[in-house]
């Protein structure tokens, strides 16, 4: 290392015209014959120019710099370029500071964000971060909470989701299945929903079981699919499905699939759940569900153009005695 420093010191002296003739000739011989040495002298030249621009040269060095170093037109050109580069870096804050400086120079980081002419990178990075955070949050939630606790209590004795009928009136269950933003009020009734017939009003779902269906996460495997326990008294199931797609849409197409066959297709609006964030909800009579595995495929519905990327959720219906 000290040899390197000595070598660089000698090169610096050479560039400033401070060496005797013999030493100078030996250096120039090496410069001609050894490419790596020529590269090193270029680095020392750059350092000299930078030191000059930052007023870091000693008086003697400054004299040599002006009277010897700058006599070569090429080096004057280098100085011009270095000067322009210095001004450019100072004015543009071209790149964010390195990690170690972030604490000290938060303001520079913000300036970078504000001034950078490529906001698309920040937008993309922010989008990816949000998605990763959301997926992580969902994963943590699913690990911390046993699946059966994700359902908001539906077992008889008495079931908290099976609230007594308060007063007569129109069904709060949205007759238009596309609009699921309203809170579902559950009514006390032992009447089971029946299969919808043409011209017949949809059955009033008065005892609704609510279940959150989490997306199939990579690496979780089949065994971790959601379970939807349905009590004998429930006549409807409200499936709350967190929307986890790269691009956000206001509406999603939901396909409910069983044994490879579509049994339900609905276009649903996104609503915001306090706990789950952006969700779509599907209210479905229990009569349409049997004790088996189901799959939900969710795809964004753009105003125009092709459907968004597909996200798959699966759940298994379990009948409680």
């Amino acid at each position: 290392m000290s040899q390197d420093l000595e070598q660089e010191y000698k090169l610096r002296q050479y560039l400033l015209g401070k060496l005797g003739q013999e030493e100078q000739v030996l250096i120039e011989q090496r410069l001609f014959l050894e490419s790596s040495y020529a590269q090193l002298v270029q680095a020392v030249e750059d350092d000299l120019v930078d030191d000059y621009l930052h007023d870091d040269l000693t008086a003697s060095e400054l004299e040599g710099f002006k009277s010897h170093f700058l006599t070569q037109p090429e080096r004057r050109g280098d100085l011009r370029i270095a000067q322009a580069l210095k001004q450019f870096l100072a004015a543009e804050s071209f790149a964010p500071p390195v990690t170690g400086q972030i604490d000290e120079k938060v303001d520079i980081g913000w300036r970078c964000l504000l001034r950078n002419r490529r906001p698309i990178w920040f937008a993309l990075a922010a989008g990816v971060l949000i998605i990763i955070s959301f997926l992580t949050w969902i994963a943590i939630r699913s690990i911390q909470r046993p699946v059966d606790r994700t359902f908001e209590a539906h077992v008889p004795q008495p079931s908290p989701t099976e609230t007594p009928r308060q007063q007569p009136g129109p069904s709060p269950v949205n007759p238009n299945p596309n609009d699921n933003s309203k809170v579902v009020e559950q009514r006390n009734s032992n009447e089971r929903s029946r299969q919808k017939r043409p011209g017949e009003r949809p059955p009033e779902l008065t005892a609704v079981v609510t279940a959150t269906i989490l997306p199939n996460l990579t690496g979780r495997g089949e065994g971790t699919s959601n379970e939807v326990p349905i009590s004998r008294t429930a006549n409807g199931v409200l499936l709350k499905i967190p929307v986890v797609t790269i691009r956000n849409y206001d509406r999603y197409r939901l396909e409910l699939i069983s044994a490879g066959r579509q049994i339900e297709v609905q276009n649903l609006n996104v609503s915001v759940d306090e706990e789950l964030g952006r969700i779509v909800s599907l209210l479905i009579p229990t009569t349409r569900l049997s004790k088996q595995k189901y799959e939900i495929r969710l795809r964004g519905l753009p105003a125009a153009g092709a459907l968004g990327e597909s996200r798959t959720y699966s759940f298994t219906v379990k009948r409680l005695p």
Binding site: F32, L33, A43, E74, G77, R80, A84, A90
Partner: protein, 228 residues
């Protein structure tokens, strides 16, 4: 044994001043210098008092110069080699009085300066010839201003062309003053998982490429302006 044709060879060099001793001198007037038998003999004698050994040394130097000029990418390495001998013979009367040590390095030293001179490009001369008083505060006339604008625009263009990693290196390596700069470089080296020396060489390589890009850009734009 010796290349006798060299003796009659007439230097075509337009800058017939010596290697480094002339760096501080004003340019000499353009003149043709002819390698005479006397100057060639003087050069051989300087290489070795024994004429045969001098001839061997001459041939060794000659073949090494041709090989190296060729490695450096020059299309006519023999011509540059002849130019080297020509210049050594010419400057020898002035140099040898104060010169100590082996003569061979001097040939390569002259060759290095010839190589460097041929590397200079017209655009660099134009850029370098703008009168610098080595002060930031000097007001620039309109020509200098347009030159500066050209440089700034090319710098911007070339910085945009750098990939993200190289841009980050350049921005962080050359940013800051004194302690800030040192700290910034250390931090950058750690982050890039590099030794400081390697980071320095990398930064220098990027800077050299950046410079080449800027000069190409300036040359292109200057030509484009001239054509209009």
């Amino acid at each position: 044994m010796l290349d006798s044709g060299l003796i009659d060879w007439v230097s075509q060099s337009q800058t017939p001043y010596g290697s480094r001793t002339n760096l501080d001198d004003p340019p000499s007037p353009i003149q043709k210098w002819v390698l005479t038998i006397e100057s060639f003999d003087g050069m051989l004698l300087w290489l070795d008092q024994n004429r045969d050994r001098a001839g061997e040394k001459y041939e060794q130097i000659r073949s090494r110069l041709i090989r190296r000029f060729s490695q450096l990418g020059w299309p006519e390495p023999e011509q540059l080699t002849n130019e080297t001998f020509d210049r050594v013979a010419k400057t020898l009367p002035r140099v040898r009085a104060n010169y100590s040590g082996s003569p061979e390095p001097y040939f390569y030293s002259v060759a290095f300066n010839i190589h460097r001179e041929h590397l200079r490009r017209p655009i660099m001369v134009a850029l370098g010839d703008t009168d610098l008083s080595y002060s930031d505060s000097e007001s620039l006339d309109s020509e200098k201003t347009s030159q500066q604008e050209l440089l700034d625009s090319c710098l911007r263009e070339c910085m945009e062309k750098l990939d993200l990693r190289n841009r980050e290196i350049i921005a962080n390596y050359y940013r800051g003053e004194r302690q800030d700069k040192i700290r910034s470089r250390k931090s950058l080296a750690e982050r890039m998982n590099m030794k400081l020396e390697n980071l320095r060489l990398r930064a220098q390589r990027i800077r050299a490429n950046l410079k080449k890009c800027i000069l190409d850009c300036m040359e292109r734009k200057a030509q484009s302006t001239a054509n209009h």
